[in-house]
C-alpha cells in the first residue's frame, strides 16, 4: 500500500470525532452563557427554558429521523406521557422529582412499545400512524379522570427541588438543569452516531436492503432508536411538567409538541447533533420576541415564512450554513465526515 512520503512531517489533523466533540462542547458553552447575553431577566430566562425544552424535544425527533430514518408527526405522545408519568409518580406516589423525571422518560419508552407494529410502515404511513397514536393518548388522558384529573388536569404535584442549596425551581436553576439534560443527550446522540451502530443506522436510511444483506438487523436497530427517542422526549416532557406546575391533556399532548420540534430540527439542520438544539433556540426566541411584537395575533405566520426561506435557500439548515461558511472564516476546509455532523 503506498505511503505518502511527507506524512511524518505534516501536522496531523484533528480527528472528525474530536472536532465534532469540540464543536458540540463549544455550542453548549454558548447556550450556558446565553442567559448572560440576554440580560438574565426572569422573562428572558423563562423563554430560554422553554426554548431548551423544545431543543431537547427537537433533538429526540432528529435522532429518530436521522438515525432511525423515521419521520414522526407524533412526538407529543411521548412528551405528554413522560409529563403525566413523572407528575403522577411524584404527586401520587411521592417519588422524588429528580428520580421521577427519568422514570417519566422510561414510562414514555414503555408506551412507545405500542408503536412497534408501525415500524413496518415507512414514510408518510409511519408518520400518520404516530400522529394517530398521539391523539389516542390525548383522549386517554382526558377520559381517565380518576388517574389524570381528566380535562381539568393535574395541578398538585411537586416542582423541582433544591439540591445542595441550589434551587432548581427558580429560573436560573431550571435553566441549568434543562441545559444539563440537553448536554447529556447531545453527547449520547453524538457517541451513538460515531459508533458502528450509528453508522449502520445512517446506512439504513439510505438503503435498508443494502444493510440487511450485510447482516444488519434493521428492525432491531430502528426499534432501539424509537425507544431512545421516546425516552428523551418523555424526559423533557417530565422536566417541563415540573417547571410549569400544571398539566392538562390539551396542553401536554398539544400538536405544538409534534410540530415545533420538526420546525426547529429542520431549521437548525436535522442531520447534525447541535442543529436541532440551536434551531429550537433561534426559532422559539424569534417567534416569542420578534414575531409576537410585530404580529401579536397570528405571529406563527412569520415562523412559516422564515422556515420556508431557510428550506429553500439552505436546506441543511443552520448547521449547513455553518459548515459552508466556517471554513472561509477559519481558512480550513471541513472533511466530509465533519460537514454538518457537529
Amino acid at each position: 500500500m503506498p505511503v505518502t512520503s511527507n506524512a511524518s512531517v505534516q501536522a496531523k489533523p484533528a480527528s472528525p470525532s474530536r472536532v465534532q466533540g469540540a464543536v458540540t462542547g463549544a455550542g453548549l458553552v454558548v447556550l450556558a452563557l446565553l442567559p448572560l447575553a440576554a440580560g438574565a431577566s426572569p422573562y428572558m430566562l423563562g423563554l430560554l427554558i422553554s426554548a431548551l425544552i423544545l431543543a431537547g424535544l427537537a433533538l429526540s425527533w432528529a435522532l429518530l429521523g436521522n438515525l432511525g430514518g423515521m419521520v414522526s408527526f407524533g412526538h407529543a405522545a411521548f412528551f405528554g406521557v413522560g409529563a403525566y408519568g413523572s407528575a403522577l409518580l411524584a404527586g401520587k406516589l411521592g417519588v422524588p422529582v429528580l428520580l421521577a423525571i427519568p422514570l417519566g422518560g422510561l414510562i414514555a419508552t414503555v408506551f412507545s412499545l405500542a408503536m412497534l407494529p408501525a415500524l413496518r410502515l415507512s414514510g408518510p404511513y409511519f408518520a400518520l400512524a404516530i400522529l394517530a397514536y398521539a391523539q389516542i393518548f390525548r383522549i386517554l388522558a382526558t377520559e381517565l379522570d380518576w388517574l389524570t384529573g381528566g380535562a381539568a388536569g393535574l395541578q398538585r404535584y411537586p416542582g423541582l427541588p433544591t439540591v445542595l442549596g441550589f434551587n432548581l425551581a427558580d429560573r436560573a436553576g431550571s435553566y441549568v438543569l434543562v441545559l444539563a439534560f440537553v448536554a447529556v443527550f447531545a453527547f449520547v446522540y453524538m457517541a451513538l452516531r460515531r459508533s458502528h451502530v450509528g453508522t449502520a443506522l445512517r446506512a439504513i436510511a439510505d438503503s435498508e436492503d443494502a444493510t440487511r444483506v450485510v447482516g444488519v438487523n434493521a428492525t432491531v436497530l430502528k426499534t432501539w432508536m424509537l425507544l431512545l427517542s421516546a425516552f428523551i422526549a418523555g424526559v423533557f416532557g417530565a422536566l417541563n411538567a415540573h417547571i410549569i406546575g400544571f398539566l392538562e391533556p390539551d396542553y401536554a399532548f398539544s400538536g405544538i409538541w409534534s410540530v415545533m420540534p420538526i420546525i426547529a430540527a429542520v431549521f437548525g439542520g436535522y442531520r447534525s447533533v447541535l442543529g436541532p438544539v440551536f434551531g429550537a433556540v433561534v426559532i422559539y426566541l424569534f417567534d416569542q420576541v420578534i414575531a409576537k411584537s410585530l404580529i401579536p395575533v397570528g405571529h406563527q405566520i412569520l415562523l412559516g415564512i422564515v422556515l420556508a426561506i431557510m428550506v429553500l435557500l439552505a436546506p441543511n439548515g443552520l448547521s449547513g450554513l455553518v459548515a459552508r461558511f466556517l471554513p472561509r472564516l477559519t481558512g480550513r476546509s471541513l472533511s466530509n465526515a465533519e460537514k454538518g455532523h457537529a
Binding site: M1, T199, A200, A203, A210, V214, G215, A218
Partner: protein, 236 residues
C-alpha cells in the same frame, strides 16, 4: 454447501421460479445463466432471503428457508446487487466496517485494509461511496462489502455487466484471485458465454423460471434447449 430443493417463488399470479433443485459443492464457481426474466436474480433473492420462497434451501447442512436476510448474511451467504447498492452517505471504509461488524460479528481494521487492498480500493477508502466512485469501483465495493462479512458463499449478480472487455478480463482474474484467496464458493449471474466458459467449472441455465440445463459450460451451451432460449425460438 448449498442445496436447493423444489424452490418456487410466486409473485401473485406470476411464477418467477418453479421447482428449482440443484446442489453447489464447496469451492465451486458456478455460472447462473439465462435470458432476461429467466429468474436468475429472483433465485439470488430467494437464496439470500430477500424474497420468500417455497421449497427448501439448505446451507452448510442447515435449513435457511425461513431465516431472515440478515441472519443468512451472518450464516455466510454474501451477495452483490446487479445495480450496486453502496451505503451512500458512508465512506468506502465505513461501508466495509458496517458489513464486517454486523456480518462477521467483529471489527478488524487490518482485515478491512487487506480487503481494500485486494479490491484495489485503498486509495478511495475515505471517499464518499456514492459520489466519488466510478462504476467499476462501485462494483468492486459491492464485492468488498460482501467479503467483509466473511462469507462462505458469494452470490455475484452481473458484476461484469457494463464493463468494457479489458476491464471485464481483469475483473475475471480478480474473481479467480478472490476464489483462491478467501476459499470461496461462488455463484455468478452472467450473460456472456465466454466469461462463463473462462471462469466457471459448471453452469446452470434457467428459462421462464425453470432449470433447463446443468453441466459444464461446454455441455450447457451446446444444449439445444439453451440455444433455443437464447435465440428466442419457441420453447418446446
Amino acid at each position: 454447501m448449498l442445496e436447493l430443493d423444489a424452490v418456487t417463488v410466486r409473485f401473485g399470479g406470476l411464477t418467477a421460479l418453479s421447482g428449482i433443485s440443484f446442489r453447489i459443492a464447496k469451492g465451486e464457481i458456478l455460472g447462473l445463466v439465462g435470458p432476461n426474466g429467466a429468474g436468475k436474480t429472483t433465485l439470488f433473492n430467494s437464496i439470500s432471503g430477500l424474497v420468500k420462497a417455497r421449497g427448501r434451501i439448505s446451507f452448510n447442512g442447515r435449513e435457511v428457508t425461513s431465516l431472515p436476510l440478515h441472519k443468512r448474511a451472518r450464516a455466510g451467504i454474501g451477495r452483490t446487487f446487479q445495480i450496486p447498492q453502496p451505503m451512500h452517505h458512508l465512506t468506502v471504509r465505513e461501508n466495509l466496517a458496517v458489513a464486517q461488524v454486523f456480518g462477521a460479528g467483529r471489527h478488524d481494521a487490518t482485515r478491512i485494509d487487506e480487503i481494500l487492498a485486494v479490491m484495489e480500493l485503498s486509495h478511495k477508502a475515505d471517499a464518499d461511496a456514492a459520489t466519488a466512485l466510478a462504476l467499476q469501483e462501485l462494483k468492486r465495493l459491492e464485492i468488498a462489502k460482501a467479503l467483509a462479512t466473511e462469507p462462505k458463499l458469494l452470490l455475484l449478480d452481473e458484476v461484469l455487466a457494463g464493463l468494457e472487455s479489458n476491464a471485464k478480463r481483469s475483473f475475471m482474474l480478480k474473481l479467480k484471485e478472490l476464489h483462491a484467496l478467501f476459499g470461496l464458493t461462488i455463484v455468478i449471474v452472467e450473460h456472456d458465454i465466454e466469461t462463463i466458459s473462462g471462469l466457471c467449472t459448471r453452469a446452470v441455465v434457467l428459462n421462464f423460471g425453470q432449470l433447463i440445463a446443468d453441466g459444464t459450460p461446454a455441455e450447457v451451451f451446446n444444449n439445444p434447449a439453451v440455444v433455443e432460449s437464447y435465440t428466442g425460438t419457441a420453447h418446446a
